[in-house]
Structure formats: structure tokens, C-alpha cells
Symmetry: C2
Subunit: 424 residues, 2 copies
């Protein structure tokens, strides 16, 4: 069966999944956990096949770490499933209840988005996280994972889908796509798919956006900044910068550009330079920075996303100049100020136009788990719908329900009746 | 100056408008009202030029009604401005406040989207409504109205912009585009414009969506349904159907397709037919409908948006069949059930996947003013961000603010510290 035919069936069953009780959806998550644990040995065997193939083809060690699905990863996803099952139901919440006129009541209730396509990197734990977030939020999901974990994805998906059906949810709640060409097929399904969430490189997300009419939620890049103010405490600043740069360099919330106030530069830059060198981080500075401490000189208008142990450094005179730089060169992802001056911090928090604006802490905190969302399907740099880490709340929409007794607009237009708008 | 240059300036000033106090933004609305009233005579003179041109070029009477900006329209927009000024500030609302660990606090606050482009039909009152909604919500706006009201738009825009500046808001808060080619220029500004709201025909909205990378909020069409259940009360059903079809035929929330339960068809269809004929509505039915009551016969798979005094009629056996038809052929705008059976109504409300799902009332209630939002910038059939009539709430996004004392992710990853997630 083609993806299109499968997704059409899914679309028809989406309202049934949407109407399922919170108890059944949570029970499905616990059943997934149970069955993953029961089939642990088989999962590890299949994962072994992926790892063997990775070794054959010379995949770098950093990537292999992501492909691996071992006892520790199984424990993590199991704990995540239990946590997610225990979270309150995101569906059917009344967010507005208003009497328009006597006995004529408007209600706004949360409901699932419908059918969501998620295209993600080769990480087996991501498959479990994403599918469980979709089930908890009552959304049907088409899942396409990285090809480097084909064997692991296949067994995980089978266990998850079987558990979901066994728990009493619709047969077509979940679908796995395995072939790369199926992505292009999925992009054409704008009458059946309500949302696409692509995870991966900038170029990939851009490709998806340019080749579909389906709404896309994804971040295109993460050029995060830290502004070291004149009133920064260097004892806090150095560890925060090191964490933001080195704790996980490949992450979109790693810092890429440091803006340092000119007043403290002569004192701060040498300390920063020493700390970065010790951590193996290469510094690229504008001319006045490298005049002071050496390093590679860069021009004043290109500040890239490195995703590596490299950082750009530029000097600014004021917090205003820092904000202008960030709003112009940043990607509206996550940006931080380090300062002990509360007024300057408040200005920065108000004026920076990013999904996350931080004071005196690492940009690496931008993450659904660290925000207490249980898990995330991604981090959005779009300003519409969900912004920042996207958990359950980002996977729901709402509808307006209006209940009357034969009301017609003509009566309100003629003045025979009138609205009184009483919030209930 | 080109649109691109103007919009770039706007983008830089957007954070300043976003940071302005609610008092100043509300005062600006009241100043707009005052100045519109003060310059009423000049506005009517300019509107006269548009009306004269419309008469010359033979614009139909129904359209001329929309172009007209007279004392009554002025009173309406003035009342709207007062109402909007009095609404609570949509900005700076804390929607989440959570301590991640001791003294380490995450807050989510509402903020404006930024720069919004609105392209709307030739209706001078729409210009006032849209610009005032944007100002109240702290958004910069690029406004492009229909060319048939060029003179009226120009004077209204000048009064509005001058009032906004006089109230103390940034100079580049509002911009008017007058030339059609400026729309294409605007579509290219994906680095400065955060959202486009096109209002108009299906084809026009589709054109915008297909020619820009800027997120678009708009409805593509409005094929609204009314399902007349076996348990419907004909005394309510006939007036509701007439209102939904005839109260304003050109509106997207007018009904286009009636689904009638087979059990009551023999009794109900003749009454319906008589009522529609009396109201001048042409009925187009599937073969079994026209076999019963005559009229033009249609095939079972094309149910268009007429925006005219025409309605499609089809028979169904059950509420389930009605729901399947609506979810398949509808546009997820607004759909209603007429029934006295509470269980059947509940099923319909749950299962229909539309922005508005109504019980025993006219589809014409789908409107920001009638929902008590003060006004609307449009009605969205997208499921992301805002769904249904879009008022102030649909014009804001949020950002996450995180305030710490030197926190690094490394400490949480190593287990030295741990999250406790306390909602404050």
C-alpha cells in the first residue's frame, strides 16, 4: 500500500483516536513500556545489526553513541513513558466558556491536531519519545527515522504499534515510513496530513518547507548568543560559557557567538581565552578581539552556527548594541545575558526577540525535558503555534463549540436580541 | 523608499513597540477615535471620490455598500475602538511560572508576533479594525487594502498613523502599501515579516501561500454544512437554514451544503423547498432529492462553495455518515447539527474536525465580534496557532524567560543537581 493510501485511512480514524479516553491513551503508554521491557533481548539483537553495519561503514564514534539502544537507553525511555502516562490529559480542556446570550453558550476545548508526520534523525529513543507524545495527545503519527537504525526502528515500531492496538486504540493510529522516497510522497499529502515536524540539518528543514503545502514546525538553525555585560561576574560567566559551548556541541542550543562588553574586555578576555583553550575550544574574534588575545580574525558580519568546538567573539559598547546584534544575526532560538545588574538584565529579557531569553545561566537549558514537559518533539523557532521546546501542549489545537436553541444571526443584526458576553 | 527598506526599519522598531505600556497602546486607540471623528468631513469627501469612481466603472451595488464609509460606519469603528481600548492587555501575561530547581525560575510570557502583513479587501472599516488590533497587541503592521478604496484608505491611514505617533508609539509601527506590485515585494521579506494575513478569495490566499516563505494565516475556503438529523425540530431548522444561507451569502460562514437524514426527508424536504423558494434560494440536490422535490440534480461528489443564493442538498442515513461527509468534503470551517437528541449532538460535536462545531444555531455566528473578541483580523481554518475567528489572542506569541545564578546543564547531567519542577 502506498503512503498516500495509508495516510488516507489514518485521516479517517483520526477523529476516533481524538475521541478516545485519557485512560486508554495512558494505558497504551504503560503497555508499550511493558512490551519493550519484555522484548528487550530481541531489541538489543536488532540494534546489534545496526551497530555492526555502522562499524562496517565507518560511522564516527559520536554518531554510534546515538544509534546505540542498550539497557540504559531502555531504562530511560521506560521512565519517560511512565512520566508521560502520569501527566494530565492535554485534550478536552475548556479554555473559554462564554454565554453569548441567555442559554447560548460558546466553549473552546483543546483537541488533537490530527495527523502529524515526524521525520527524525537516527536515534531509536527519539522514535519511542515521539510516538508516545503523539499517542498521549491523541494524534495519529507517520514516523520516518534515520536509515542507520532501520533494524532497531522496525522492532521498536512493531512493539509500539501492537501495544497501541492491544490497548484499544485505532489500528491506523501509527504508521512507519522506511524508504527515503516516502518522504516526498508524504509531502504531497496536504489533504490528509495536518502538520510536519522535520528534525535534522538546516538544509533538510528548508527542503521540507520548500516542497510542501503542509504546515511545518521546525527550527531552521540555532545561532545562540551569550552577552557578557560590564556588570557580569566572571566567576559565573566562565563556567556558563564553557557549559553552553562544550556540554554538547552538536546541539542547536549550544552557544555560537559571545558578545563581550568593551569595558570588561581587557580583564575578561584573557581569562576567557585561557578557559576556552583548556577546554579545547577554538576562538574566532573580530580584529579588536584578536589584537588583544590572538586567535583567528573574522569580519564583523558573518557569525555562523558551528555545532563544533569553535566560538565567535565580538565586542559591544552597551546592552542595546548586544540586543541589536542578536535580533539581527541570531535565529530567535535561545540567547543569554550574564550580568549582576537587574535593570540591564530586564532590558535584555524584554528586548531580545527569541524563544528563550536567559539571565545568568547556560543556553543548553532550552529543552523540553529540562522545562519539565516530560519530553519534546522538537524546538520551534517559529513564532506561530508553539515556540521553543514543543511538548504535549504544542501538539494540540482547539475547536469552538456553540450550543443554542435555534439562534439566528438575523435576530442579533436587527436588534431583536443582543449579545451579553458573560464568561462562565 | 522600497517596501523592503521600510519593513527593515519596522523590524528594528518592533521590540520597542512590543515593550510599550498597555496604557500608551490603549491611549493611541482612543486618540485614533478622536481624530477620526474630528476629520469626519474630510474622510467622507475622500470616500466620495472612491464612490464616484466605483459608479463610473459600474461596480455592483453589493460591493459599493462595502466601499461606503459614512456616519454610521464611523460610529461603528469608533465604538469598536473604545471597546478594544478597554479590553485587557494581551501582552506580558504569565502563562507558566515554574521553579526548575531552587531559585532557578522559568516563566512563559505572552508577547507580540512582531511584524504582520495584512492584505485585505476594499473595506475602509477593515483598515481601522485591523490596524487597531495590531496596535493593541503591540504588533507592527503593513497594511494593503483594496484599490477601490484608495482615497479613503489614504486619509484613514494618515489619521491612524499620526495618532499612533502622537500617542508616543514608534514612528514605524504602521505602514501602508498602495501598489499591487508591493504585495510581491512584501512576500520576499521573510527575514523581516513574521506573519502574513491575506483576506480574500480562495485563489488569492492560495497564491500568497505558494509564493512566500513567511507563515500565512488565512482561510482557503468556507464550505460550511448543516446536518438536519432525524430528531431535528423543523420549527427551528427552517429559520436556522434560511439565516445561514441568506443573511449574508458572500460570507465564508454561510452554509453551502445541507445533509438531511433520510428518515425525515419525505416530511422535511417539501417544507425546506418551499421556504428556500420563498427566500429566492436555488436548490441543487442529489438524484434522490430532486426525485422527491425537483430542482437541479448534482452528482454525489462535488459540493462547491457558492457564496450565492444556491445550496446543495444530500441525504444521509446516520449522524456517522454526515460526519464522514463533512470531514471529507468540508473545509474545517464551521459546521452545525440540528437535532433535539443530546447524544447525537454530542457525537457530532466530538467527531467533526472543524474550527467551529455548532448545535441548533446558524453557522453565521462564526465571527470574532459575535464571539466577544471585539473584532477579528480574519477566520483561520488552519489548525496551528489560531483556529476560527482570530482576535487579539491570535496576534500574540510567547517567550520563555529563565533566570538563574550561574546554572550549567553539566551539573544536572552529572547528578550534582536535579530538577524539582515546582509550579509557582
Amino acid at each position: 500500500m502506498t503512503i498516500r493510501e495509508e495516510v488516507k485511512k489514518m485521516k479517517l480514524e483520526a477523529p476516533v483516536l481524538a475521541a478516545s479516553s485519557a485512560d486508554i491513551r495512558s494505558a497504551a503508554l504503560l503497555l508499550i513500556k511493558e512490551n519493550l521491557e519484555k522484548h528487550a533481548a530481541e531489541i538489543f539483537t536488532e540494534n546489534g545489526k545496526d551497530l555492526a553495519k555502522a562499524a562496517e561503514t565507518g560511522v564516527p564514534a559520536a554518531i554510534v553513541k546515538r544509534l546505540k539502544f542498550d539497557e540504559k537507553k531502555l531504562q530511560d525511555v521506560a521512565a519517560g513513558l511512565v512520566q508521560l502516562a502520569a501527566l494530565p490529559d492535554p485534550l478536552g480542556k475548556k479554555t473559554l466558556s462564554r454565554e453569548l446570550d441567555t442559554g447560548f453558550v460558546l466553549t473552546r476545548v483543546t483537541c488533537p491536531i490530527g495527523v502529524i508526520g515526524v521525520i527524525f534523525e537516527a536515534r531509536p529513543d527519539a522514535l519511542v519519545q515521539i510516538s508516545s507524545l503523539c499517542i498521549k495527545s491523541g494524534n495519529c503519527a507517520v514516523l520516518k527515522g534515520g536509515k542507520e537504525t532501520t533494524y532497531t526502528n522496525r522492532i521498536l515500531f512493531t512493539i509500539i504499534r501492537d501495544s497501541v492496538i492491544a490497548a484499544g486504540l485505532p489500528e491506523h493510529s501509527l504508521l512507519q515510513a522506511e524508504q527515503h522516497q516516502e518522504i516526498d510522497e508524504l509531502l504531497e499529502c496536504d489533504d490528509c496530513v495536518d502538520l510536519l515536524i522535520p528534525r535534522g540539518s538546516n538544509a533538510f528543514v528548508r527542503y521540507i518547507m520548500d516542497h510542501t503545502r503542509i504546515p511545518v514546525m521546525g527550527h531552521a538553525d540555532g545561532i545562540c548568543h551569550i552577552y557578557v555585560d560590564a556588570a557580569a561576574d566572571p566567576e559565573k560567566a566562565i563556567p556558563v560559557i564553557l557549559d553552553a559551548k562544550t556540554q554538547y556541541t552538536a546541539a542547536c542550543n549550544a552557544v555560537e557567538t559571545l558578545l563581550v562588553n568593551r569595558k570588561i574586555a581587557p580583564e575578561f578576555l584573557p581569562r576567557l581565552d585561557a578557559a576556552l583553550k583548556e577546554a579545547g575550544v577554538k576562538l574566532r574574534g573580530t580584529k579588536e578581539v584578536t589584537d588583544m588575545i590572538g586567535g583567528e580574525t573574522i569580519t564583523d558580519d558573518v557569525f555562523p552556527e558551528y555545532l563544533d568546538l569553535i566560538v565567535s567573539v565580538k565586542l559591544v559598547d552597551t546592552v542595546q548594541e548586544a540586543v541589536l546584534h542578536i535580533n539581527r544575526f541570531g535565529s530567535h532560538h535561545t540567547d543569554a545575558i550574564l550580568t549582576e545588574d537587574a535593570d540591564i538584565a530586564a532590558y535584555f529579557m524584554q528586548m531580545v526577540d527569541s524563544a528563550g531569553v536567559y539571565h545568568n545561566c547556560s543556553t543548553r537549558f532550552a529543552d523540553g525535558f529540562r522545562y519539565g514537559f516530560g519530553a519534546e518533539v522538537g524546538i520551534s523557532t517559529s513564532k506561530l503555534h508553539a515556540r521553543g521546546p514543543v511538548g504535549l501542549e504544542g501538539l494540540v489545537t482547539y475547536k469552538y463549540l456553540l450550543t443554542g436553541h435555534g439562534e439566528v444571526v438575523g435576530d442579533f443584526a436587527s436588534g431583536k436580541r443582543s449579545f451579553h458576553f458573560k464568561d462562565l
